[in-house]
Symmetry: C2
Subunit: 447 residues, 2 copies
């Protein structure tokens, strides 16, 4: 057997970091459910043809899946691991349209896989937490306002830095580019999407390159001017108008984005920023698009993104337009962990270790543990009747705060942090609320 | 785009069945945490060489994973999707041994993949919920008693039929076969493991076949006699002794299984059955093995299995012996759903739909929803200001029990099952506890 080594891009957590991840996922799930989103999970695989042609370099990043024992021709159409949760969800909606009630609000928290070059916050396997609303034929505009508010509600309950949700409507650059006479709108969008990463000079170079969209210098300048516009209210409209470009698709996009900004400011002033450089790499978005920055970590890029897709789910007869946002849970946590912003208070759920005087007492110790568990207290029994010092060390290594002893005077419990030991009845003794379960520590706040 | 069709062996739940699955997973997780097991997740992929040679027809059932865009030679060693959670866990222990505290108690709830022929309860993608305890060099015997008690605790909180946990020690058949002079012990074990599926005649045929272990007829009879022994206490020992076979490995196995039966009967009389035909197909088990039957559904096979493995996790210097049990969550649910034993009370978490008199009232309705949510009540706002009958129908289709109205007399809430409508203040009104979240209905009990 070869030596055990990590596989690049497939990170795994130690138990104390996993406790932080579980807390994040629990808060996100609870928030999504409070907002009336139903959970689904989709299979990990889709036919490769359904995963293909969704933009960027997605195709070559798809992981193909095939039985080792399969003969070359007995497997039917090729399967691949899903690279997001939106494409599988659209397929799920088509497959189950007769059994779902529309508009259908669903959340989905699962792993996805992309064969990208691994780097900080970019993994080959990672967890996303998505909400989407999909309509049957039509989908009211107000969901495009609602979804970022749900995300803001979840984030407000998590120990993360302040954030801003950037919003755009793809009709704005699309109409604007068409008004400028640009032919390959998608190619220009994809280049502009890299603005934060590669800067305006490189973008200009790519836009004007003969083997690219080959824009005139003045056209490229206009494209960049549009991308630089942002506002926390509807005032971006005037700034766009001042550039003097006319197109009916542009008008529609401006009107829709202005409506989102106005409505969002009613509920959460300052939460949304209209930012006209936001485009999203995936081709299925047709209108509103979202990205989310952690303030103070802008260069890290978006940790929560999405948008409206009007044509992703269609069976030829009916189209199911949708809007969704996806929290990049692994990506968000990777940043917080690498910056030392979060850690779990212990490496196990256990709050109480029941110590043993003698191996013959194990049955009694198990009964004590069962009584404590009945009141929701996580308990384990010591692995062996070692010296008490060793049993206390066992608890200490894991961050278990309490050790339970059976003494001549009856049962007693020791808080191993303070050393205080008091008589205790397993039927009534309860640890302080904050010790019952592991908690999330934010080291910076404590220092 | 090809027509959307299910992929055989990759089942997906509708939202109301997913609510049942979530309830099961929540109860299992909560029980595992109360018993002091820490959560981990491992990556979906392992090097194929680590997955191979674990017994049965496992190799050809492995799903190989490869980037579509990968050149033939740039991917390093081949990767495959894990087919269980024990092999990845053993690798995780080796990889992180310096950072873990032993004995290490972990639980792991994840999807696994096997390219088996799909049939009822046998899927190509399914969810398992595992607990394991792994020691550093040694692992005390008492964990082999503890683990089935944890499973019994979880099952006692779930709406499932009564069950029995069957236990054996592989040393018993191994020592017995050696005492009989059998050479290929593993081959005989694998054939006996099929006893429930194919019956004693077919097993005898396979055991005596010239291209199989080629046992003498009398030897095969002895093998079958051993497999037929079972007891709910330690009395199986006498039955084995009566067969007159002698071997020191047999003695050790009998002693250990007798100790488990005695200790288990102290805590949960009747829960465990010593059943000497239980073998488990996977080769890594070295001692105690477990299977679990639902009573009344014996032909369905095991829904929770595991055992002790002494040599799975070894780096050449240190060996980390372990014992674990895995609940086949998908397999268990498939049976309960197919028999109509369970369903979710509604298809959404939403308990209250806030109706709209007019689209202009949406901002107010969203504020009402936010106030209710602050007290843990799942709420959504109606998709459109349709006629009230239509808005009530929207709730009814999803099983949402309450609709909130803004009337001339102030806010009122209607229980759409009884039709009763009463004045209500969003800051204080609370639905009955059993309506706040969806519940699990057991249709047989209600009929």
């Amino acid at each position: 057997m070869a030596k055990v080594t990590p596989i690049s891009g497939f990170p795994e957590f130690l138990p104390s970091d996993r406790i932080v991840e579980q807390h994040f996922l629990d808060v996100i799930r609870e928030t999504f459910e409070l907002h009336g989103f139903a959970s689904i999970e989709t299979r990990a695989v889709e036919p490769v043809e359904r995963l293909s042609n969704q933009g960027e370099d997605a195709d070559k990043e798809i992981y193909a899946v095939r039985r080792l024992g399969a003969a070359a021709d007995d497997e039917g159409p090729g399967l691949g691991l899903h690279f997001d949760l939106t494409v599988p969800f659209a397929r799920y909606v088509l497959e189950n349209s007769g059994k779902l009630a529309f508009p259908f609000r669903r959340y989905q928290i699962q792993k996805v896989w992309r064969g990208e070059r691994p780097q900080e916050g970019r993994y080959r396997e990672f967890t996303q937490a998505d909400i989407d609303v999909v309509g049957d034929g039509t989908l009211p505009f107000h969901y495009e306002v609602e979804l970022p508010l749900v995300i803001a509600d979840a984030f407000s309950k998590l120990p993360i830095p302040p954030f801003r949700i950037q919003v755009n409507n793809r009709q704005i650059p699309e109409g604007f580019y068409r008004g400028l006479g640009v032919e390959d709108v998608t190619a220009v969008l994809r280049i502009v999407d890299k603005l934060d990463k590669i800067g305006p000079d490189k973008v200009t170079q790519l836009l004007t390159a003969a083997d690219g969209p080959a824009l005139e210098a003045e056209t490229a300048k206009q494209v960049l001017r549009l991308a630089e516009i942002s506002s926390t209210d509807a005032s971006f409209v005037e700034q766009v108008r001042a550039l003097g470009v006319q197109h009916e698709v542009l008008d529609e996009g401006l009107e829709r984005l202005a409506a989102i900004m106005t409505a969002a400011n009613e509920h959460a002033p300052g939460l949304l920023v209209a930012d006209l450089k936001i485009a999203r790499g995936l081709d299925y978005y047709t209108g509103t698009v979202y990205e989310t920055q952690l303030i103070g970590h802008e260069s890290y890029g978006s940790i929560c993104s999405g948008g409206r897709y009007d044509a992703l789910a269609t069976d030829g007869k009916t189209t199911y337009p949708g809007v969704g946002i996806s929290i990049g849970v692994s990506r968000l946590l990777a940043r917080l962990f690498s910056q030392g912003l979060l850690k779990g208070s212990r490496s196990t759920p256990t709050a109480v270790l029941v110590a043993l005087n003698d191996e013959a007492d194990r049955a009694d110790a198990m009964r004590t543990a069962a009584v404590l568990r009945q009141r929701g207290i996580p308990v384990e029994v010591a692995p062996a009747a070692a010296k008490f010092g060793k049993q206390i060390k066992f608890a200490d290594r894991r961050g278990i705060p309490f050790v339970w002893f059976s003494t001549e005077n009856g049962p007693e419990v020791k808080d191993i942090r303070s050393g205080e030991q008091v008589p205790a009845d397993p039927a009534t003794w309860t640890p302080p609320q904050h010790d019952v379960r592991p908690s999330i520590e934010t080291p910076q706040e404590n220092s």
